[in-house]
């Protein structure tokens, strides 16, 4: 046994074969390049977690100046797209119910008069909150907007009133992404999502395919060692993973202008750990799946919680405890923190290390299961 150690030439034969097969399998190859591009377009351009230009109606019952000022202020904001000026309470109710508008700003009858008296009149904002994510930021924005819009009119003798308008001024400070640009958050995260999706599916398929087509039996009857087959099959996909990373990093830099504050070599080094974690999942699935379809199903079974519970789709801190617990197990959760830490916050090795070890632990555990199961499939 000991005379037949790992042989580079046999390992390299497997690598070369995988590359030929990869080149021939246009569909899978297309998927590997297509998924990053598709997701970049979808998440980078189409999906926006901070929606703006939300349809809005104004019901202005106040004939005075400040009512008009406020209406103009709403029209000028990015968040609101004032489409209607409602004439009655009934119309307000109908617009909301039919979903024609997301917001109705209700300016009461004696608004101007009460502002002048310094009474801090109530400004009613009615929101269609069926999609809270869509309305949250807009509601925050209306606060500041009211203050700012009125400030312009409150000058000269009216100046002292300003103090009364916003005695408790709402302040929002956005760190690392002062303009709240969704892409800064999404695009680095996409690297993790794309790698999770493609690495798991491709490794699970590549190994299951050998067994399904009977070629594994043939391979095992040759002197090639299981380790040579395994590593020989993984190396090409690690390279593909880096290619995908490169593609997304280029897009992040030049299309989305995502700031890159941290060290790129550090990121690429941790990337290897993350790729290894996903390959380990793929190997484990391939030992469980009887055919390629099952391998595909298992991959999606893993992919869904990864994308939903990792903090990529929804804010991690907004999830209930049990969901956070599940999320903490997934490598993607930690990888997202790591990528955002390095790229957006400029974190160094010591600052992101505590995001890396859970991924390493996950990888070792799964690789252990995978290799144990892989050995058993031989017999």
């Amino acid at each position: 046994m000991s005379r037949y150690r790992f042989r580079f030439r046999r390992f390299w034969a497997i690598v070369a074969k995988e590359f030929i097969q990869m080149r021939r399998d246009r569909l899978t190859f297309g998927m590997m390049v297509g998924i990053p591009l598709l997701q970049l377009t979808l998440f980078g351009y189409a999906i926006n977690a901070d929606p703006k230009h939300l349809p809005t109606a104004v019901f202005c019952a106040d004939p005075g100046t400040f009512g008009r000022t406020l209406t103009v202020g709403l029209r000028n904001s990015d968040y609101f797209d004032v489409r209607r000026e409602a004439a009655s309470e009934a119309e307000v109710e109908r617009l909301l119910r039919l979903g024609e508008v997301q917001f109705v700003v209700h300016i009461p009858v004696d608004f101007t008069r009460r502002v002048l008296r310094g009474e801090r009149p109530a400004l009613l904002l009615q929101a269609d909150a069926t999609d809270p994510a869509a309305t949250g930021n807009a509601i925050a924005a209306v606060n500041q907007l009211a203050d700012r819009a009125l400030d312009r009119d409150l000058k000269g003798p009216l100046y002292p009133l300003r103090a009364h308008v916003g005695p408790v001024k709402l302040q929002i400070h956005r760190h690392y992404n002062p303009e709240g640009i969704t892409q800064y958050n999404i695009v680095p995260g996409l690297m993790g999502v794309v790698l999770t999706m493609t690495m798991v599916i491709i490794t699970a398929l590549a190994i299951t395919r050998e067994r399904e087509r009977g070629t594994m039996e043939n391979l095992l009857a040759t002197p090639v060692r299981p380790g040579e087959v395994m590593i020989g099959k993984l190396v090409p996909y690690i390279m593909v993973g880096y290619l995908q990373t490169l593609l997304i990093l280029l897009a992040a830099r030049f299309l989305f202008r995502v700031p890159m504050r941290g060290s790129l070599p550090l990121l690429l080094a941790f990337m290897l750990l993350f790729i290894a974690a996903n390959l380990a999942v793929g190997i484990t699935f391939s030992t469980l799946a009887r055919n390629q379809l099952q391998a595909m199903q298992m991959s999606f079974f893993f992919f869904l919680p990864s994308i939903l519970l990792s903090g990529f789709m929804f804010p991690f801190r907004g999830m209930p405890g049990w969901a956070q617990g599940l999320g903490e197990v997934l490598p993607l959760t930690h990888f997202l923190r790591l990528v955002r830490g390095i790229l957006l916050k400029g974190n160094g090795f010591l600052e992101v290390w505590h995001h890396a070890w859970p991924i390493a632990l996950f990888t070792f555990l799964l690789l252990g299961i995978g290799i144990r199961r892989y050995r058993r499939t031989l017999d």
């Binding site: 030439r9 034969a13 021939r24 043939n218």
Partner: protein, 308 residues
């Protein structure tokens, strides 16, 4: 018989899966340069036995040598000198003919790889089509490619698992021609098959059922060992006659062969008493040599009775 002249010499080989014994204490000796046929019904353990020999599976019990190497401990050495051709085509359909041969040559670390691949292509007569994908080949060509790939590292022992299933008669004959040529040059061949004509082309055979070796030897030895007498009967309404004969004493097996019935039994006298009266009723009856097929059908049905 000394050890050096034996390619395979194993005893007590046993393997079970999930409590079900698939190979049950099989002993086998195969001489070098011999074509050894391996027969038996589907699921009798032929494939599992081949996998035990080439180190794909570890036996639960049993010992012995394959090409002089210990089957339990030296499977790596055995794998280098064995060419194993699986039942299903198990090369890469998305690789070309040349790429497949090259891949196997690299895995076996064949010295002078490029030349070995080229020679193999020439011998196959496929040098013009070497860039064609293996998946596009017809059944007969796939089988030839598989054989060529199994031979590229110049093995001393070929294990062939139903290599001719689904291959046309001409291609089968060419295939056997090649096997005999290889055997003449010293290669040992262990081949499983369901075809009687192929069984008769083997130097020696073994019959396996329910994991047990029921008979082995040359064709003559196997037929003789079965102690079966057989009559061939020709005449009208053979189907009706078969029903009647099956109920008679001394008749153990009635098998239609085209326009004749083969009636067999292990007691020649009793069988003669059952058959001879037919001669007067328009039937032509003659005593014939039992064929391999008569013997195998007999072995198969007897084993069913023994191991339900």
């Amino acid at each position: 018989m000394n050890d050096a002249s034996l390619a395979i010499d194993v005893r007590g080989m046993t393997k079970s899966f999930a409590g079900h014994v698939v190979v049950d204490s099989i002993a086998m000796r195969v001489r070098r340069g011999e074509i050894y046929g391996f027969l038996g019904p589907n699921g009798s353990g032929k494939t599992t036995f081949l996998r035990l020999l080439c180190g794909l599976l570890r036996p639960d019990a049993g010992e012995g040598t394959c090409l002089g190497f210990d089957v339990r401990r030296q499977s790596d050495e055995i794998k280098r000198k064995v060419g194993y051709m699986t039942q299903r085509f198990s090369f890469y359909e998305d690789l070309s003919i040349e790429e497949n041969l090259d891949f196997i040559a690299r895995i076996f670390e064949v010295p002078g790889r490029a030349r070995a691949v080229r020679e193999s292509l020439v011998r196959l007569g496929l040098e013009n089509r070497r860039r064609q994908l293996a998946g596009e080949l017809s059944g007969g060509w796939k089988q030839r490619l598989a054989l060529a790939a199994c031979l590229i590292h110049r093995p001393e022992l070929l294990l062939l698992d139903e290599p001719t299933a689904g291959v046309d008669p001409k291609a089968r004959r060419d295939f056997w021609e090649e096997l005999h040529e290889l055997a003449a040059r010293g290669m040992t061949v262990l081949i499983t098959t369901h075809y009687m004509d192929e069984a008769e082309r083997c130097h020696r055979l073994a019959y396996l059922a329910y994991g047990r070796l029921l008979a082995h030897g040359t064709v003559e030895e196997v037929v003789g060992g079965a102690g079966l007498a057989t009559w061939a009967i020709a005449g009208p309404d053979l189907f009706g006659l078969a029903q009647t004969l099956r109920r008679r004493d001394g008749v153990e097996q009635v098998v239609p062969f085209g326009n004749t019935l083969h009636v067999s039994g292990s007691n020649p006298a009793a069988l003669a008493r059952a058959v001879e009266p037919l001669a007067g009723r328009g039937y032509r009856c003659e005593r014939v040599e039992s064929g391999l097929e008569d013997v195998f059908i007999r072995l198969m049905s007897a084993s069913e009775d023994n191991f339900p």
